[in-house]
């Protein structure tokens, strides 16, 4: 944890203006942050996806935003998948369809 913080905030890899490069393409912090959800949702084309990823990996200023959003999503996903499906629901549906079958 400490090491990561040091890496983020200790300057270093991140470009002077927070710009990072991926395959030669430089994108700004502004652009990376604006694409954050599209990046996380896998909605960017391969090239942009790579560029945004490279930015977040190397930019100390932006990286925490990705971490927070990932942590948020993990939490939401877990909560949404928690509810148990009622026992017997499947059978009730199958019966319902069978009944509707013979009605027709």
């Amino acid at each position: 944890m400490f090491e990561m913080l040091k890496r983020w905030f200790g300057g270093g890899r991140a470009g002077e203006n927070g710009a990072a490069s991926a395959g030669g393409e430089m994108i700004s912090c502004e652009k990376a942050l604006a694409s954050l959800y599209e990046f996380m949702d896998g909605e960017l084309d391969d090239l942009s996806q790579e560029a945004v990823e490279a930015h977040f990996e190397t930019c100390a200023r932006c990286h925490p935003h990705l971490s927070v959003q990932r942590s948020f999503r993990t939490r939401v996903q877990a909560a949404l998948s928690r509810p148990e499906v009622p026992e017997g629901l499947r059978n009730r549906v199958v019966d319902l369809l069978a009944g509707s079958d013979s009605e027709i």
Partner: protein
């Protein structure tokens, strides 16, 4: 087609029924209560079964079922038959425009120093998270559930909700933002996030920004 319901029945069981759990979880978030969700699932599958000849094989049966499920839900709600335990907020009318690009939540600038990973989310119990999701306007809630739980593409969600992709983006943005704000406030209240260092509170400072 003809009277031959046997093979049709089989393909429905193969293609549609495996999505029962997913449809139930979606229905549960739409309706907010297990009983209502069960009813919704049964009606969804019955309608899907009866309209099975309109389903294009090879397309996503799951999306198709979600579409039916939501339409059934909305129709019931219109008729005021909603089993309603949810206090749902209303989505602002103009939900296409706005500040979609502005992903940086002013919230984080205050907590990031002490919690750069956003690990406070882990401390929040499921019930609280679900309660916050259920309080979202339906338009936001549906988008968030379909994206974050089901991993549907924006284009699929757009088709399902019959809105442009840009609107989906906007709904996801707003829904997630609203959720984060509620959960953040809760985390502060519960002491999962320590007292903030600076005197300024970006969230409060920008309160009423109309996001």
């Amino acid at each position: 087609m003809v009277e031959d319901t046997g093979p049709e029945r089989n393909s429905f069981e193969d293609e549609a029924l495996p999505h029962l759990d997913a449809v139930y979880r979606f229905a549960l978030r739409l309706s907010g209560a297990p009983d209502a969700a069960e009813d919704l699932v049964q009606e969804t599958f019955l309608r899907a079964f009866r309209a099975w000849d309109q389903y294009t094989p090879g397309t996503r049966a799951k999306s198709w079922l979600f579409t039916i499920c939501r339409n059934v839900f909305l129709r019931h709600r219109e008729r005021g038959m909603r089993h309603d335990r949810i206090v749902e907020t209303q989505a602002p009318r103009e939900d296409t425009g706005g500040t979609v690009g502005d992903v940086v939540n002013p919230l984080w600038t205050s907590s990031m120093g002490s919690d750069p990973e956003g690990s406070f989310f882990e401390a929040i119990v499921d019930e609280k998270v679900l309660e916050a999701i259920d309080a979202l306007p339906e338009e936001y809630r549906t988008a968030v559930v379909l994206s974050d739980l089901e991993g549907l593409a924006y284009a699929e969600i757009a088709e399902l909700m019959e809105v442009p992709v840009g609107t989906v983006k906007s709904r996801l943005f707003r829904g997630r933002r609203q959720l984060q704000e509620v959960l953040y406030d809760y985390a502060i209240e519960m002491g999962y996030i320590g007292a903030r260092e600076g005197p300024e509170d970006p969230l409060r400072a920008s309160a009423g920004e109309g996001a």
